[in-house]
């Protein structure tokens, strides 16, 4: 299948303008439209390995990154996230256009894909075993996912765990969002990693996105079986601590981080209970990414 990096710039610009561009993100098909050069450049860089189509076709989401008003194309340039032609958020300055696309896409997934139970959690796979990394914002979840994916783990998502009715984790490999100091951490540890443009002074500070491996993108249609739930927490200078978490406790913590648990009603409860019964749950506190990775690989080997 055609990948984004194999399209010429001209083909890409035309398809993004005339509505015939499709991006395939695992099971999802997105119609993406844009005429904002900053967005298109970052998009090309970060989604290079993703399958695309230039001749239209069916889609799940209709997304455009576009100027909110005609004059905003030239003067005080802004970008809006349009979903089915609606603009659910305020426009942002044009340098934040790609971050806006990623945030908007997260919002769309969490608001519409109710055939899945959606948890705020990173999902990775190691030796064929699915691992959920569930944590509140600011506990280093994205940095840890980026590190693991650079070290050969398969990334399914850095932000959203999608659990379908067969209790499988639906992959959604796409750029990992890095914030503030974690951008430099990953850059230092992995000099060859592809990191997109910096979006400065967003409401989350400085944000940049890490391109995920072609392997992870290539496996985007292969679901993973959940085997382990981990609640990671980065604490500066802390020694490594690994502790088991009871199934009931794990379920309550996951509900806290779920986007559509109540929307799914009894089915949400059923799916969550099944999830904690088929997995083991652990929490780890760490300050060193190397130690955390070792600990996780041991956990998967012994308890996954």
């Amino acid at each position: 299948m055609l990948t984004l990096s194999s399209c010429t710039s001209e083909q890409l610009h035309r398809a993004l303008r005339d509505g015939s561009f499709r991006l395939y993100l695992g099971q999802l098909a997105l119609k993406v439209s844009s005429d904002i050069p900053e967005f298109i450049a970052a998009f090309r860089q970060l989604y290079g390995d993703h399958p695309v189509a230039l001749g239209g076709g069916e889609y799940d989401f209709d997304i455009a990154i576009s100027a909110p008003a005609l004059w905003r194309r030239w003067f005080r340039r802004n970008a809006s996230f349009e979903f089915s032609g609606d603009t659910p958020f305020l426009p942002m300055e044009v340098g934040h256009a790609h971050a806006l696309f990623e945030w908007g896409l997260n919002w769309a997934i969490a608001s519409f894909l109710h055939h899945c139970l959606i948890l705020h959690s990173a999902v990775l796979e190691w030796r064929g075993k699915g691992v959920l990394l569930s944590a509140v914002s600011g506990s280093g979840k994205s940095t840890l996912s980026a590190e693991l994916s650079e070290q050969g783990w398969r990334l399914l998502s850095d932000e959203l765990a999608l659990l379908d009715s067969d209790l499988k984790l639906i992959p959604l490999a796409r750029p990992v969002s890095l914030k503030n100091t974690s951008i430099d951490v990953i850059r230092r540890r992995h000099p060859t990693a592809v990191i997109g443009p910096l979006a400065l002074d967003t409401h989350k500070g400085t944000v940049a996105h890490l391109k995920v491996s072609a392997d992870a993108v290539g496996s985007n249609l292969v679901p993973a079986i959940p085997k382990l739930i981990v609640f990671p927490k980065w604490v500066e200078g802390a020694p490594l601590r690994v502790e088991p978490v009871g199934a009931g406790q794990a379920a309550l913590r996951l509900i806290d981080q779920a986007f559509n648990y109540s929307t799914l009603g009894t089915e949400g409860f059923r799916r969550l209970v099944a999830l904690v019964r088929m997995t083991e749950a652990w929490q780890i506190e760490y300050s060193s990414l190397d130690e955390a990775r070792d600990a996780l690989e041991t956990l998967v080997a012994e308890h996954g």
């Binding site: 119609k31 069916e58 209709d62 032609g85 799914l264 009603g265």
Partner: protein, 362 residues
């Protein structure tokens, strides 16, 4: 129906409008379906559409079927939430011992009408008699609903001129409740006897607390809401409601259409119901006896036809933004008599030069 053809020839092909108009879906390829779903989302109708496709057992490609399933799950959750919220409202107002009337979406859900299917809405509308308004507001405040901070002008607009008090939001659940004492603005230029409609309301079967408008008045209220409105973001949904209400009531009693028009004349909505049903027939094929709709559509109705058409970027009529502006002017004109209108516009103009408050961000 000359104007109908005039109108349709001006529109871009929209799979949503074609499906609603009874054009069938056999010719739709998966991409046309995708556009249709995108249009439905833009119109706030995805869940309603999903419910209707499910009812008709339409066979869809897998990707699209998943979207339908997801929307049905959302719609089901929404109905659960509405019914639970109604329980909370009932608890807060039960002690008052006055009839409390449910309007629009909440009424459709409580009555389990076809118009409730997949209908997603943002607030619950209730009515109490004007003399009991203050008590009802106080009881709701005790139950946790608060009117947000409004500037003195907006307070006055609601308290003196409007048919409702400012929207109340629950401090924990974040749900919104609109407490009314009439069905239309008392200052409205079209003289509507909404008091008569309220006085002839009936208790909801199986409930010792809730009341509802009688069938004819439910359709009339939905029609006046659409035709006096300036907000057409949800115009197509309102029109679809009218269609579903009409078809449901007409299927239960053959004389319903005649009674509806008679009642409309009685309360001053004769023109409004005719125009609203003209639109419903044009876009949704509502089966209305020909003799009730004789005559040409008014200019305003032709404008509204453009405003309730698809609002999606790919399929909306070119001049929709202009129509929206004209209809906004019309709504203000209908709502307020001249001296109040002048004051209102002067105030709004002066505020628009002051700074704006930030809106929501991600």
């Amino acid at each position: 129906m000359r104007w109908k053809h005039w109108w349709l020839s001006m529109a871009k092909p929209s799979p949503l409008m074609s499906l609603l108009g009874g054009g069938g879906h056999e010719s739709f390829d998966p991409e046309a379906w995708s556009l249709l779903f995108s249009e439905a989302r833009r119109a706030g109708l995805m869940a309603r559409l999903a419910a209707s496709l499910c009812l008709d057992q339409v066979d869809l490609p897998e990707r699209l079927q998943k979207q339908v399933t997801a929307s049905l799950i959302e719609a089901e959750a929404f109905q659960r939430d509405v019914l639970r919220e109604l329980d909370h409202v009932q608890q807060a107002l039960q002690g008052l011992g006055v009839p409390v009337l449910l309007l629009k979406g909440a009424a459709y859900v409580r009555l389990n009408l076809p118009a409730a299917r997949g209908r997603i809405f943002s607030d619950i509308d209730i009515v109490v008699a004007r003399e009991r308004l203050a008590q009802a507001e106080a009881s709701l405040m005790l139950g946790g609903w608060l009117t947000g901070k409004l500037d003195p002008y907006d307070q006055r607009y609601y308290r003196e001129w409007s048919h409702e008090i400012p929207p109340m939001t629950h401090r924990r659940r974040g749900t919104t409740l609109d407490l009314h004492h009439a069905l239309v603005m008392p200052t409205c230029r079209v003289r509507v006897d909404s008091g008569k409609m309220l006085r002839q309301a009936v208790p909801i079967e199986g409930s010792l607390f809730w009341w509802r408008l009688q069938d004819e008045d439910m359709v009339l209220h939905a029609a006046s809401h659409l035709m006096f409105n300036a907000e057409f973001e949800r115009g197509l949904r309102d029109l679809w409601d009218i269609h579903l209400l009409f078809c449901d009531f007409a299927s239960r009693s053959a004389s319903f259409p005649e009674r509806l028009f008679e009642r409309a004349r009685e309360v001053g909505l004769g023109e409004v119901i005719r125009e609203a049903l003209l639109l419903a027939r044009t876009f949704l094929g509502t089966p209305i006896p020909e003799d009730l709709l004789r005559g040409e559509a008014k200019m305003a109705t032709r404008l509204i036809a453009r405003a309730v058409y698809s609002r999606h970027r790919q399929t909306r009529p070119a001049s929709q933004w202009l129509v929206d502006m004209l209809l906004l002017g019309r709504e203000m004109y209908l709502r307020l008599p001249n001296h109040l209108l002048l004051r209102h516009l002067a105030h709004k103009a002066s505020v628009s030069f002051a700074g704006t408050a930030p809106q929501k961000s991600i």
